[in-house]
């Protein structure tokens, strides 16, 4: 049987030749991402902004009567500034409302608001699929926890890599992860996709997979550093990336073919999360090759890093042996 070879054997692509331009582009993209987050902001869902969402399906018609819903919900006394949008299929809608500032911290008001919307939608023949209601206090806690979780995850894995490899590798991995998280956030700011708890889970998954790639390349660099002691570092990095290229492509591809059906046929409420992970897959693979590796050159990794240093005891021993 003729087996599929996605990557020809013995590739020798000079990835690192373009390391400076790519690095500059990455820095620019990161700056752009943070600028977007700062100026346009993230479109926080109720998880992080607080408020109420009612989801409903109009089971008897093909398209939900958005305009009609808008008129009716607007007319409700207890509801102010509803955001009505299609969600998933054409006959599915999500109605989002926020508590007016004066009713902040008043659960009875929130309750009355969702209840009024639920009753109105039911009277229009819709099936209520879900209600999410998050108070400002809880959403604030979610925000803090999310930032903490992301920072802790990045620092702890960087620490692990430092212990297992060398400090330069830890810094390289941390920088690559920061790049991945930044670009993902930038993407969410640019497209104003809803930013929820699920997206935090997605970002942590991205951190995981980006690291996967980084570690595989790093592991090969470590091996080659011991093997080819005289090879110049850029050449050695290129060799390591090329040697692991087949694996990188294959694994990214298996992940991609697993994710795409979920993106297109999966539950609508998972779309944002899966889209983030899919985009992160590309970002993470790129960063392992173009950020995590060249940083090692700039941080001054060399073949001595993994060769045990000669200790005083060793020298003494040698001397003794030499005298014999």
């Amino acid at each position: 049987m003729k087996l599929l070879k996605l990557v020809p054997q013995d590739t020798n692509i000079k990835f690192l030749k373009l390391r400076v331009p790519f690095f500059i582009v990455s820095l620019l993209l990161m700056a752009a991402s943070w600028t977007l987050v700062a100026t346009m902001g993230l479109n926080y869902g109720v998880d992080f902004a607080g408020g109420q969402v009612v989801q409903a399906t109009f089971t008897e018609v093909e398209t939900a009567p958005i305009e009609d819903i808008r008129v009716r919900v607007d007319a409700l006394e207890s509801v102010s500034d509803p955001v009505i949008q299609r969600f998933g299929d054409d006959n599915e809608v999500a109605i989002r409302v926020k508590l007016p500032p004066e009713a902040e911290g008043d659960p009875a008001f929130a309750n009355a608001m969702t209840n009024a919307i639920v009753i109105e939608l039911e009277s229009m023949g819709a099936r209520i699929d879900g209600v999410d209601s998050v108070s400002g206090k809880v959403s604030g806690e979610f925000r803090n926890d999310a930032v903490l979780a992301l920072l802790a995850a990045m620092l702890m894995v960087a620490l692990y890599i430092w212990v297992r490899f060398e400090w330069q590798f830890g810094v390289g991995a941390l920088f690559a992860l920061f790049h991945d998280v930044s670009l993902t956030l930038g993407m969410f700011a640019l497209f104003q996709m809803e930013f929820s708890l699920q997206i935090i889970a997605a970002i942590l998954a991205i951190i995981g997979y980006s690291l996967n790639d980084t570690i595989v390349v790093y592991d090969r660099i470590r091996e080659n550093l011991k093997k080819y002691r005289k090879m110049p570092l850029p050449e050695l990095l290129d060799l390591s990336v090329n040697e692991t290229l087949a694996r990188t492509v294959m694994t990214s591809l298996t992940l991609l073919v697993a994710l795409l059906p979920l993106l297109f046929f999966g539950p609508a409420s998972l779309f944002g999360m899966v889209a983030a992970i899919t985009a992160g897959l590309f970002i993470g693979t790129y960063s392992s090759v173009y950020l995590a590796s060249p940083i090692l050159i700039w941080l001054g990794v060399n073949s001595d890093s993994f060769v045990p240093q000669e200790t005083e005891a060793d020298r003494q021993e040698k001397k003794v042996l030499g005298q014999l």
Binding site: L3, K5, N111, R127, G130, L197, R247, P261, L262, P267
Partner: protein
């Protein structure tokens, strides 16, 4: 490496099949086959099964306030019952402290002696500090440990009351867990009416009977000015007297927390909705005494700080049974009956987070999630077999076992599968083969360098395992942090991810190694296509 001892093979198989078998009940359940009572099964999260998740929170200030009120009554009773009576006045509760002025400074030491026992809670811990300022003003300040114990007791009580109320609503398999110092998580699967549940839990149901202050001037009461020893309560919002107020005597009333029964009913004469209550023996005696001593007087029935009605004691009520009326609908009478029957909440609770998912949406999510996972798995398998041939087949079988073991482990550990958890399954399918990809690519390389088949395979497993372990451990760290930070559905994602890492390392390393070595030992091939 290729010589795997028989006992090791057998234990690998036993372990694999035992855990995979635990997945069967969960797989059969959707097909309508019941594996029977006690079979381990994966729980479906509320976002898949449908249901409501409520996060309730108590305000510690409410507990402190309640405690202060109780202390005031206790102090009042103790000082009045003393012989001779200790005279005092100007009682006030402010800044979380209770203070009053003794009429005579000569009484200070005696008052101290009387009150000291009240300052100790269970006798082991000082719950209040007693001090004297400005000559003869006594100030009672709660200690931090006293407050903490009171809050803890109130929350434990609240959990019990919440449980009883949910049981009375006839809901099946609720989960009620205390979270942190002031929160309670309530999860009710497949609930039809989350609104009713929220209203039921939002009602503190603190019922009080207090005598109406007959001396109070209606104009003063309306303006919020009470006579000394009285306090003013508003009428309930949905009642007939909305907007009105009633002045009642602060002390000498009784609380409705000593009920043994409460039922909604209809008054046959007026056709009004009412709630019939039955006091326990002690409460009944107190109520009999109150009604006997105050025949012809009006008393207010106060629920959660609002007056429901203020009828007159026409005659002594001796049997311990009473009737509450006051503009109820059949539904609100029933709700109140349930609340009273389950007891008052020791502290008011507010809903600070709600997640409700309808059962239809959950079912659709499971269906579309499964379809997506099936298509994804087929694509991954095709890719693996097309790329690695026989070694791809091994990886595929390992993948199938991986999914089964993952499901089985979740069933045994009684973990919950949530909607993001489905995404976790799909990710695991996509990522689990990575270990085999690493090994197989390494074998290719080793073969290319001219190593013999057996050496190439041996090196492949050995050299690749370093990166496999490092990558999985770092992933594990990220997953564990997600588990720690996340709640509900997100935690379900982290669980699948983390267990999936362990099972995929096991299946990709241990199982495929066993199969590959078995093949090499049996056939001793000179060349392998990989």
């Amino acid at each position: 490496m290729l010589e795997i001892p028989l006992w090791k093979k057998i234990s690998l198989w036993v372990f694999t099949l035992a855990i995979a078998a635990a997945a069967l009940p969960s797989l059969l359940a959707p097909a309508g086959i019941d594996a029977g009572e006690g079979a381990p099964q994966v729980n479906l999260g509320l976002d898949l099964a449908g249901g409501s998740h409520l996060l309730l929170e108590a305000d510690p200030a409410d507990v402190a306030q309640q405690r202060l009120e109780n202390m005031e009554e206790a102090v009042e009773a103790a000082l009045r019952q003393a012989n001779p009576k200790v005279e005092f006045g100007d009682t006030s509760r402010s800044n979380g402290q209770l203070s009053f002025i003794l009429d005579s400074s000569a009484d200070i030491d005696r008052a101290r002696g009387i009150l000291e026992p009240l300052m100790m809670g269970d006798g082991l811990r000082r719950e209040w500090d007693l001090s004297v300022v400005d000559g003869q003003r006594m100030v009672l300040t709660p200690t931090d440990s006293g407050e903490a114990v009171a809050l803890n007791t109130a929350m434990d009580g609240a959990v019990e009351v919440v449980r009883r109320r949910i049981d009375l609503l006839g809901t099946r398999e609720p989960t009620i867990i205390r979270q942190g110092e002031t929160r309670i998580v309530v999860q009710v699967p497949g609930l039809q009416d989350p609104q009713a549940l929220k209203e039921q839990l939002g009602q503190t149901a603190q019922l009080e009977f207090k005598l109406v202050d007959q001396q109070a001037l209606p104009t003063n009461t309306q303006a919020g000015v009470a006579n000394p020893g009285s306090q003013i309560f508003p009428y309930a919002e949905d009642g007939d007297f909305v907007g009105g107020f009633e002045a009642v005597k602060r002390l000498g009333g009784i609380r409705g927390d000593s009920l043994i029964d409460a039922k909604a009913g209809v008054n046959p004469q007026t056709n009004e909705n009412i709630v019939n209550i039955q006091f326990d023996q002690q409460g009944g005696q107190k109520f009999a005494k109150l009604s006997t001593e105050n025949v012809g007087e009006r008393f207010a029935i106060i629920l959660d700080g609002e007056v429901i009605s203020a009828p007159t004691f026409n005659e002594p009520i001796l049997g311990g049974a009473a009737q509450i009326s006051g503009s109820f609908t059949a539904a609100s009478a029933n709700q109140l009956a349930i609340s009273l029957q389950s007891g008052a909440l020791p502290v008011p609770l507010t809903v600070i987070e709600e997640r409700t998912v309808g059962p239809d949406l959950g079912a659709e999510s499971i269906r579309s999630g499964l379809i997506a996972m099936l298509i994804g798995s087929i694509a991954v398998i095709t890719l693996m077999i097309a790329t690695y041939g026989r070694f791809g087949v091994y990886a595929t079988v390992a993948l199938i076992f991986n999914v089964l073991i993952l499901l089985g482990a979740m069933a045994i550990g009684n973990f919950t599968l949530t909607l993001p958890g489905i995404a976790g399954f799909v990710l695991t399918v996509g990522a689990a083969v990575d270990a085999n990809v690493l090994i197989n690519e390494r074998i290719r390389e080793e073969r290319k360098r001219g190593r013999k088949v057996i050496t190439a395979v041996e090196n492949g497993y050995k050299e690749a395992s370093r990166a496999i372990y490092d990558a999985n451990i770092t992933n594990f760290i990220a997953g564990a942090l997600l588990f720690w930070f996340g709640s509900g559905p997100i935690r379900g994602f982290a669980v699948v991810l983390v267990i999936g890492l362990i099972t995929s390392v096991f299946t990709a390393l241990a199982l495929t190694k066993m199969w590959v070595s078995g093949y090499l030992a049996a056939k001793r091939p000179k060349d392998i296509s990989i």
